[in-house]
């Protein structure tokens, strides 16, 4: 099962290394990871994507909780959370093909971020699934380079307040 975990950490040197090391050491695999600032300058947010059993997820959460720099750990269940990702893709686009590509892109609200003689760069924001479909659509045109940020997530404004499971044990 894939899970998204939202982690608030103190913005201190080594905080990310400690989390990454804990995953590596306990044999958990990180599928994607996005780190960035939050509304508080002393706090960073990490969105982690892991593929593991529910039981491992519980271990991950508890082990992360013990890290001194970790302030909050929360699973983001798909139906209670909003997840977005940014993709940049450089696609081969000889002048004759450009119009076709751009019209495909419009469906996904993709923006043309840069235009060269024989290639262009699209910028797309969406759910990770949307980005995957977009990627498939432009692939036949020839992807020269592609980067994705990894997903970021927040519990929905309408969702019940979390965390829950850990509260029982602590």
């Amino acid at each position: 099962m894939r899970h998204t975990v939202s982690v608030m950490v103190e913005n201190k040197p080594g905080a990310l290394a400690r989390i990454a090391s804990m995953f590596a050491r306990r044999g958990f695999n990180i599928e994607s990871l996005a780190v960035g600032p939050t509304e508080r300058p002393d706090v960073s947010h990490i969105t982690l994507r892991v593929d593991c059993s529910d039981r491992s997820l519980e271990q991950i959460q508890k082990q992360m909780h013990k890290l001194v720099n970790v302030l909050r750990v929360q699973e983001l269940p798909p139906d209670e959370a909003l997840e977005r990702e940014l993709l940049l893709v450089k696609v081969a686009a000889p002048p004759g093909k450009r119009a076709e590509l751009i019209s495909v892109a419009e469906v996904f609200n993709a923006r043309v971020a840069d235009l060269g003689a024989d290639a262009l760069i699209f910028e797309v924001v969406g759910t990770p699934e949307e980005l995957a479909s977009f990627e498939e659509l432009v692939r036949p045109h020839g992807i020269k380079e592609l980067v994705r940020t990894g997903r970021v997530g927040l519990a929905r404004a309408s969702a019940r307040p979390a965390p829950r499971r850990l509260a029982v044990l602590r």
Binding site: E10, P13, G14, A17, M22, E58, L67, V68, R170
Partner: protein, 577 residues
């Protein structure tokens, strides 16, 4: 008050009430050593190897219940501390390690004796700091001690660059810590405790499975109260040894790979296991799927991450064990008064019968000295004395577990989780520094001895006398045993010889007393002489190299499938319990 960073380190240690630290100087930590020279109330014990300093700090912590402190220089000094840090991590020993680091201007340049020790130790510390500014020193040290001893205790590391030690600050020691992310549980859930008590009252075959967490939590009196009001049998793990008096009628030995059959049977035929600060280690459970298959589990621990890590807990209680065990006992008394449940007397009798039926046994020596006999005599001669035992790792450690009866918390100090050969001697030196009035005895193997015997010099010169009971079988005995049992007797690189080195002579070279004993009738005399000498002494007991440690649950086997001592007609029943 204005002072140097190096002085601030010592003023902070003093403010924490530290009376003794263990270390060895070098370039990057020189300013702090100069601060020692300028004056402090903290005693510094000079080890001969930083690993020794680290294990001394661990021995000190285990014997005293306080935080141990080890100090080393950068690079190789710091990496020499890695083994004690890993050991303290596995056994949850509160430890503060302070290392020097190259100047901040040189960090990252592969400068002389630069090593990223905070990076190296990330997976084996609770937390660590690379101090960047001198003004951080008091807060970091305050936080370090707080983290090391609160929650599940363990090691922390403070790496201080040389120029930070040399810079000036305005020193005040903080009254509080500011650690928003460190919130160890403060109390157990009352409902869960009630539920746990109900299940204990109802159980017909309960067992208290007591681990080192009980000692760390200083919860031994509360444990005893619970066991006594409930009439509950207690088994203590290697790490929990000493948490419950071992001559008590409710103590039933030690579970696991070399635990007696009755202890493992009690665990595995139980209908309720109450794990107190224990973590279902594979050396205790054997094959996990076959471990205590009929038992419900109540798991009491300060560390939520231990709950359900290996074995599902039917009733988890996360909190400080001292309070949790006390509340459990109170609740159990209440339930009994209401007529709910009763003491499992028939079950206790059953375990007693198993103990009578399957005692520890060994073949008495004809021409050879048996290590078990040495342990029996050591037990007899130290019974009733205020003793602290430490051990190395191997067969001798397991015999020490089986044959020495520990009555008090902190009286058995061993490397359980990491199984670190060489732990015994320095841990004994540290224990002696913590408990000068106690007789400190290291039961060591000949292999282990050779890993850290340089600390005999520390013991001799620092007036920290210990007695080393060396079980010299001439082999890396435990490895030999595995090669005999599981590799068709193909011995591969395990022979050390009885004679080289000459341990008694080596002891004397280090300024200690040395004895060599190869006959049973000399054992008591030598022990008496060593115990009376008040000097650091090494007794080289040349024991039977063939002797194997039984019973044994092979790694990965079910706990009930144990290999037992093969009985000849001359089998001797070990000291009755």
């Amino acid at each position: 008050m204005k002072m140097l960073g190096s002085d601030a380190v010592l003023r902070s240690l003093e403010a924490e009430g530290v009376d003794v630290v263990f270390g060895l100087p070098g370039g990057a930590i020189l300013p702090t050593y100069d601060a020692f020279a300028r004056g402090t109330t903290v005693r510094h014990v000079l080890a001969r190897h930083e690993q020794g300093a680290g294990h001394m700090a661990q021995g000190y912590a285990r014997a005293s219940g306080r935080v141990g402190v080890a100090i080393a220089t950068s690079g190789p000094g710091a990496t020499n501390l890695v083994t004690p840090i890993a050991d303290a991590w596995m056994d949850s020993t509160p430890l503060v390690c302070i290392t020097g680091q190259v100047r901040t201007t040189l960090i990252g340049t592969d400068a002389f004796q630069e090593c990223d020790i905070t990076g190296v130790t990330i997976p084996i510390v609770k937390h660590s700091w690379l101090v960047q500014h001198v003004a951080e020193i008091p807060n970091v040290i305050k936080a370090a001690f707080h983290i090391a001893r609160t929650g599940r205790s363990g090691p922390v590391l403070i790496d201080i660059p040389r120029d930070v030690q040399e810079a000036e600050l305005d020193f005040t020691y903080p009254a509080d810590v500011d650690l928003p992310g460190w919130r160890p549980p403060k109390r157990g859930h009352a409902k869960q405790i009630k539920e746990a008590a109900r299940r204990i009252a109802r159980a017909e075959q309960p067992v208290l499975y007591v681990g080192g967490g009980t000692l760390n939590a200083d919860a031994c009196d509360e444990l005893r109260e619970l066991a006594e009001v409930g009439g509950l049998p207690v088994v203590t793990t290697l790490m929990g040894k000493g948490a419950f008096p071992e001559t008590h009628a409710l103590h039933f030995g030690w579970p696991g790979m070399h635990g007696p059959k009755w202890s493992n049977w009690a665990m595995n035929k139980a209908d309720l296991l109450v794990a107190c600060g224990a973590r279902f280690d594979d050396r205790v459970t054997g094959k996990l799927a076959a471990f205590a298959p009929g038992a419900e589990v109540i798991h009491l621990d300060i560390d939520a991450a231990e709950i359900g890590k290996l074995r599902h807990a039917d009733v988890p209680v996360v909190g400080p064990l001292k309070d949790v065990l006390r509340d459990l006992a109170v609740e159990l008394v209440r339930l009994h008064a209401e007529g709910e449940g009763r003491r499992p007397d028939a079950w206790i009798q059953q375990i007693r019968d198993w103990r009578a039926e399957f005692p520890l046994k060994y073949a008495p020596g004809r021409e050879t000295l048996k290590p078990q006999r040495v342990m029996e005599l050591l037990q007899d001669m130290t019974a009733g004395r205020d003793v602290v035992f430490t051990t190395g790792v191997g067969q001798h450690q397991m015999w020490a577990m089986q044959y020495l009866l520990c009555e008090r918390p902190g009286s058995f100090i061993t490397s359980g989780g990491l199984g670190t050969m060489g732990y015994g001697i320095p841990a004994a030196v540290g224990a002696k520094a913590a408990r000068p009035e106690a007789t400190v005895i290291c039961v060591d193997g000949d292999g282990c001895f050779q890993m850290t015997c340089q600390e005999l010099a520390t013991a001799a010169l620092e007036q920290l006398p210990i007695v080393v009971v060396l079980i010299n079988n001439g082999y890396l005995g435990m490895v030999q045993q595995w090669q005999n049992l599981f590799f068709d007797d193909r011995l591969s690189h395990v022979h050390l010889t009885h004679q080289v080195p000459d341990y008694a002579m080596l002891a004397e070279a280090y300024g200690c007393a040395g004895f060599t004993v190869s006959a049973e009738d000399e054992v008591e005399g030598a022990l008496q002489a060593a115990l009376d000498s008040n000097r650091t002494s090494v007794i080289d007991f040349r024991v039977d190299p063939q002797e194997q440690c039984f019973p044994m649950i092979p790694a990965g086997a079910a706990a009930l499938d144990l290999i037992e001592f093969e009985e000849g007609e001359d089998a001797k029943v070990a000291r009755p319990l």
